[in-house]
Amino acid sequence: MWKSVSCEVQGLGHIRNNVLCQDKTLCLENNGVNVIVLADGAGSARLSHLGAVYVVETVSEFLSNNFNGLFECSDSVEVKVSILGSVRAKLREKSDELGCAISDLASTLLFVAVSDNRYIIGHIGDGVIGYLDGITLRVASFPNNGEFANETVFITSINADNAFNLFKGKVQSIIGFVIMSDGTEASLYHKKTGSLSKTIVRLIGKTFTYEKKVMESQLIATFENVIRQKTQDDCSIAILSRGNIGYDLINSMSYIEKYDSFKITTRPKDSVTRNRIKWYLKILRCINTEPKSIDEIFQQIGGKKQRLQRSINALLNSGCIQEKKGRYSFIG
């Protein structure tokens, strides 16, 4: 079962200048398809706050109504043309109604659609799309900026077709997806290394465990109090999750997936490696329900304390556990 949340908050620059929030997000579950969509309206487009709404509504509806056909189509250009065609048709219709140019409704586009263990990811412009694969957080699509900070591609740009990143695949061990605008990027995406903040793992976990209403109100509070304080721009995010990192998830992985996740360097078939994986699982089961200190873990599972400390360090390095005030817990 997939759960989704999203939020957008007006940027400090826009509050100061009395400009409406131009980031829009939407979560939709329709025809067995779960979709999250985000559009960041262009600062230079006078009605981009409306354009972004039309984009998220049209794309989510189009993906949920046509998922199977889009997924099965082997020609990615055809898929891009059909998605862009539906959005542009809507924007044309709306620009006629509003008496404006289609470019007045310009925005970026980021989406993830999931159905029956299959996903489609699409991205035009800046912002980031990431996913949690097992316990590893990865970037699916990087920001597409020009040389300068205020340059990007919009859905209405002439080169939008070429700049459209499109991926499809099997969900398999992926337990969550995240899409964010460039305002959020400033706080949750490390530009130099091209990697996402580990806090995303927690957000994916909580999207699954919290009630949607509770999660969304906490997300809005967090974005208002913390995320938008680092930028002048609007900030938005949408998350699609089907679980969180815990003992059950890791235990359900194949032997090789566990080996990869724990970042073990000894040969996979060595008996040393097998024993190490068993030992790591024992530690993880111990901290599954609540954070524990090393003494508490030691009391519960025994063994040698030095070895336990080394193993905990290795698990910290693997990124599946965290330490807070001397207590260890799953990173989610």
Binding site: G11, G13, D40, A42, G43, S44, A45, S48, A106, G125, D126, N145, E147, F148, A149, N150, E151, T152, F154, D182, G183, A186, S187, L188, Y189, H190, K191, K192, T193, S197, T199, R202, L203, K206, Q218, L219, A221, T222, N225, V226, I227, Q229, K230, Q232, D233
Partner: protein
Amino acid sequence: MYEEENLIEFDELVDNPTTRVPVCLCLDTSGSMDGDPIDELNKGVSMFYSAIRDDDIAKYAADICIATFGSGGARLDQDFAGVEDLQAPYFSAGGMTPMGEAVNIALDALERRKEEFKNSGVDYFQPWLVLMTDGEPNGNALELERAIQRTAEAVKNKKLTVFPIGIGSDADLNVLKKFSPGRTPLKLKGLNFKQFFEWLSQSVSRTSQSSPGETIKLDLDGIKGWGELY
């Protein structure tokens, strides 16, 4: 209370560097600037640094370099850096007007800086080149030609914004024009350096707050406070 509501705390945020606005000041400090002009230029640059430092956003975004042509030939007085911990340099007037050489030095510094930014994941806006002179260039003609070509091409390819500014009636308008296809050179009203640098700092501040897709509009009315068309 916030601690309980927030899913993420400040200390967990990624620390990305502020997006920079690179500004090259390429300034005439030749002998003809002696007296009031050089004094006013010094006051203007000093005020520019203070105004940037006083602006909460611009102080982290502005990335300033200064090249001069005059006493000491053409040289890089200050390589690109933030103004926060820097004192404005002090210029004295003297020597010839090797403008081409100085512009090439400034453009080289800009290329190096952009490379540094790219390597360290720092975003930046389109750089600005402010070219101020009160005379006509008399350095190496080939260097001048190369500087004009490099600058005009960068402007044409939207890689650089140039502000050519003449000081007094002897400034060579035709040369300044060549550096700037599309933007007519402006003449500084009297010795209104202060007003010019005030306008420049405000423009840097505005640019540093713009977001992708936003067209950065220069405050044209503000220009009237310090400049006029030839």
